[in-house]
C-alpha cells in the first residue's frame, strides 16, 4: 500500500444541485489538498451526502466542475473514477465472504490470484481483522463490518477515499477507538480523504481541515482550532461548541459593549451587526485582584447546574444578556461556588475576546 505517492487533490467549483425547490448544493467551491483529511460537517439536510455523492459520481449535479488532479471528472461514470468509498450502512455484499468482499475490486481489475490473496490479507491485517477472511458477513459485529468496508475501499489503493458517517452506527466507546484508528490509517496510507459527519467532536478530533456546510453552502473552511477560536460567522460559532452572544458596537478600530471599550487581540470583521462570542469554558469567575488584560463583566447568577466533571453557571448582565460559564470541579469547589442571586465578576481574557459578524456570511 503505497498510496502516499499517488494522492490526488480535489477541486470542486460552483457545483449546484437542486431537488425541486431545495438547493441541496448551492454553488459549492472547495479545494481538498493532496493527502489531506477533510471533513464535511453540518446539520442534517445540509447537503453533505449530496456533495459526497457528487464526488463519487452517484449524483449528477446541475452544473459545476470537479477535478481530480488535473482531470475533469464531472461526467465520468462512478466505476471509472477510482475513488474508494465507505458507505454509511457499509453495503457489504451479503453473498460473499469477508475475503470475497475485500477481493471484489481486485477481481474486477484482473489482479492475479496469488497477488490478490496477498493484498486481501494485508488489507485485513491493516484493519486488524487478519484471519477473518472466511467469515460470512452476517457473522460480524458492527465495528468489524465497518472495518471490512474500509479494507474493501482501500485494497485497490484508490487515491481518494470518501466516507459517509462511517461511525454513526457504532456505540460511543467503539466510535472513539475507530476515530483514532481511522486517523492512524490515514497517516499510513496518506490518500486524500473526504469524511462526512454531523458530530462536531468527531470532526475536531480527526480532521486536518473542516468545511462547515449549511443549506448547501460552505460556511467556513478552516483548521479545527481556527474554526473553534475564530469562527467566520454566527452560524459556525453556534454550530461548533457552545457560546453566548453579546451585541457590540463598532468604536474606532475596536468595539464596545454597553458603553465600555473591549480589550481584544483579534481584528474586527466588516459589517454593522457585530457580536461578541463568549465560550463558556473561556470565562473565569474572578475573585480578589482584577487582572488588567481581561474584560470584566458584572453579572448576577441566575442558575447553577452540576454536570459531573464540570459545572455550568448562567449569569445575567445588567443590560439583559445572559452568559454561560463552565468550569472544572475539583477539591470540592462546587460547594464554594456563588449561588443563585449572588453578584459575580466574570473575566474574559483579551485573547479569548472574539467579535464576529451577525448573519451567515
Amino acid at each position: 500500500m503505497t498510496a502516499k505517492t499517488g494522492a490526488l487533490p480535489i477541486t470542486v467549483r460552483d457545483v449546484t444541485k437542486t431537488y425541486g425547490s431545495v438547493h441541496a448544493l448551492d454553488g459549492v467551491s472547495l479545494n481538498v489538498k493532496s493527502g489531506e483529511f477533510l471533513t464535511l460537517l453540518g446539520p442534517s439536510g445540509s447537503g453533505k451526502t449530496t456533495l459526497l455523492m457528487v464526488l463519487a459520481g452517484f449524483t449528477r449535479p446541475d452544473c459545476g466542475s470537479l477535478k481530480f488532479g488535473e482531470d475533469e471528472m464531472i461526467r465520468t461514470p462512478p466505476h471509472l473514477r477510482g475513488v474508494g468509498m465507505v458507505f454509511q450502512n457499509y453495503a457489504l455484499f451479503p453473498h460473499m465472504t469477508v475475503a470475497g468482499n475485500v477481493g471484489y475490486p481486485l477481481k474486477l481489475r484482473n489482479v492475479p490470484k496469488a497477488e490478490a490473496r496477498d493484498r486481501i490479507d494485508r488489507a485485513l491485517e491493516l484493519v486488524q481483522l487478519g484471519g477473518y477472511g472466511d467469515r460470512g458477513i452476517d457473522q460480524l459485529s458492527g465495528g468489524q463490518k465497518q472495518r471490512v468496508a474500509l479494507a474493501r475501499s482501500i485494497v485497490f489503493e484508490p487515491r481518494i477515499l470518501l466516507m459517509d458517517e462511517p461511525l454513526s452506527a457504532l456505540d460511543k466507546k467503539l466510535r472513539d477507538r475507530m476515530q483514532i484508528e481511522l486517523r492512524h490509517l490515514h497517516e499510513q496510507l496518506g490518500m486524500t480523504t473526504v469524511y462526512v459527519t454531523h458530530d462536531q467532536r468527531e470532526a475536531l478530533t480527526m480532521s486536518d481541515r473542516i468545511a462547515v456546510v449549511n443549506r448547501g453552502r460552505i460556511m467556513q473552511l478552516a483548521e479545527p482550532q481556527q474554526l473553534y477560536d475564530r469562527p467566520a460567522n454566527k452560524f459556525v460559532a453556534d454550530f461548533i461548541g457552545d457560546s453566548s452572544f453579546l451585541p457590540v458596537a463598532r468604536e474606532g478600530a475596536g468595539v464596545s459593549f454597553a458603553g465600555a471599550t473591549l480589550l481584544m487581540d483579534g481584528a474586527v470583521p466588516e459589517g454593522n451587526d457585530l457580536l461578541l462570542m463568549v465560550r463558556p469554558e473561556r470565562v473565569r469567575l474572578l475573585t480578589g485582584d482584577l487582572p488588567g488584560d481581561t474584560n470584566i463583566f458584572d453579572a448576577k447568577v441566575t442558575e447553577l447546574v452540576y454536570q459531573g466533571e464540570s459545572y455550568l453557571l448562567y449569569a445575567r448582565l445588567p443590560e439583559g444578556s445572559e452568559i454561560a460559564v463552565r468550569g472544572a470541579i475539583r477539591e470540592g469547589t462546587f460547594g464554594k461556588l456563588p449561588q443563585v442571586g449572588d453578584a459575580v465578576k466574570l473575566g474574559l481574557h483579551k485573547a479569548d475576546t472574539v467579535v464576529i459578524a451577525d448573519g451567515e456570511r
Partner: protein, 294 residues
C-alpha cells in the same frame, strides 16, 4: 425451596400454557389438512394397491412400467413443465427486473396488471387463448391480412398452444417471488459495486443476479411443481395431442372407471413432486416461496 427457584415452576407452566394457546390457533388449519389431505391421500394409496379383482395387487404400478404409453405421458409432463418454467424465466425475470427498478408507485401499478389475470377464471382465460389462436382466430386473421404469413398457422391443439397458455397462467407465480427478492436488494450494493470499479453489466452479474437467485429459484420451483399436475390448459389447448399425467388420471376415471389406475398415477405424481421439493429444499429454504427476499 431456595430463593433462586422462586416462581420457577409457575413461570414454566405459563410458558407451556402459552405454547398450547398458540397451538390452539393452528388447530382449525390442522383439522382441515387432516380432513382434506391426509384422509384422501391415504385413501388414494389404499385404492392404488387394489387390483381389478378387489384384492391387494401391484398391477396398477406394473402397468405403468410395462406400457410405453405411460412412459410417454410422464415424459410429456416433464417436457411441458420444464419448457413452461424455462419460458417463464426468460420472460418473467427481465420483466420483474424492469418493475423492480420503477418508482414504487409505478411498480405497484405494474404488479396489479401482472396479477390481473388472477381475477378471471382459469377456464375463461384458456378458452380466450383458443379463440385467439385457432385457425380462424384473431391472430391468424390479422397476421394474414397484414401479410405476415399466408396460410393460417397451427397454434392450438398442439404443444405450442399448450405452452402459450401455460406460460401465460404461470407467469405471475414466477414474477412475484423474483420481484420480491429484487426489491429487497439494497440499492447501495450496486452503488458499492460500481464504486469499486464494476461496470453496470459487471455489477449486475456479480451482485444483483446472485442476490436475486433465491427468488428466481423459489419462483421456478413453484411454477414447475404447479405445471406437473396441471389439467385445464393442456386439456383445452393441447387438443388431445399433449397428454399429461393429470389428463390420464381423468380419462382413467371418466372413460374406464378404473380408480386403481388413476390412484396409482396420482401417487406417483405426488411422490415425484415430494422428491423434487425435497431436493430443492436442500438448496434453498422453502419459506422463500412464500415471501421472496432473503
Amino acid at each position: 425451596m431456595s430463593v433462586t427457584d422462586l416462581h420457577a415452576a409457575g413461570l414454566r407452566r405459563d410458558e407451556r400454557l402459552e405454547r398450547w394457546k398458540l397451538f390452539g390457533l393452528a388447530s382449525p388449519a390442522i383439522l382441515l389438512v387432516l380432513v382434506v389431505l391426509v384422509i384422501p391421500v391415504g385413501w388414494l394409496f389404499y385404492v392404488s394397491f387394489v387390483g381389478a379383482d378387489g384384492n391387494f395387487s401391484l398391477e396398477n404400478y406394473e402397468r405403468m412400467v410395462s406400457r410405453k404409453s405411460y412412459l410417454r405421458i410422464f415424459v410429456t409432463t416433464f417436457q411441458v413443465s420444464i419448457l413452461t418454467t424455462a419460458l417463464c424465466i426468460v420472460i418473467g425475470y427481465p420483466l420483474a427486473y424492469f418493475i423492480s427498478q420503477l418508482p414504487t408507485r409505478w411498480a405497484n401499478l405494474c404488479l396489479v396488471t401482472v396479477l390481473l389475470p388472477f381475477w378471471t377464471s382459469l377456464l375463461v382465460r384458456t378458452y380466450a387463448w383458443l379463440v385467439l389462436l385457432q385457425k380462424q382466430g384473431l391472430v391468424n386473421q390479422w397476421a394474414i391480412s397484414l401479410g405476415l404469413w399466408d396460410e393460417p398457422l397451427k397454434f392450438v391443439h398442439n404443444m405450442t398452444g399448450t405452452l402459450i397458455g401455460m406460460v401465460h397462467i404461470m407467469l405471475p407465480f414466477l414474477i412475484l417471488p423474483v420481484y420480491g427478492a429484487m426489491r429487497a436488494i439494497d440499492k447501495d450494493y450496486l452503488k458499492a459495486a460500481s464504486n469499486l470499479g464494476a461496470s453496470p453489466r459487471r455489477a449486475f452479474w456479480t451482485v444483483f443476479f446472485p442476490l436475486s437467485t433465491p427468488g428466481l429459484f423459489a419462483g421456478s420451483l413453484m411454477v414447475f411443481v404447479l405445471c406437473l399436475g396441471f389439467f385445464v390448459t393442456p386439456a383445452v389447448l393441447g387438443g388431445g395431442r399433449v397428454i399429461m399425467v393429470s389428463m390420464k388420471i381423468v380419462s382413467n376415471i371418466e372413460l374406464f372407471v378404473n380408480w386403481g389406475a388413476a390412484s396409482s398415477l396420482g401417487v406417483v405424481l405426488l411422490v415425484l413432486t415430494v422428491i423434487i421439493l425435497w431436493i430443492a429444499s436442500r438448496f434453498t429454504r422453502l419459506e422463500q416461496m412464500a415471501g421472496g427476499g432473503h
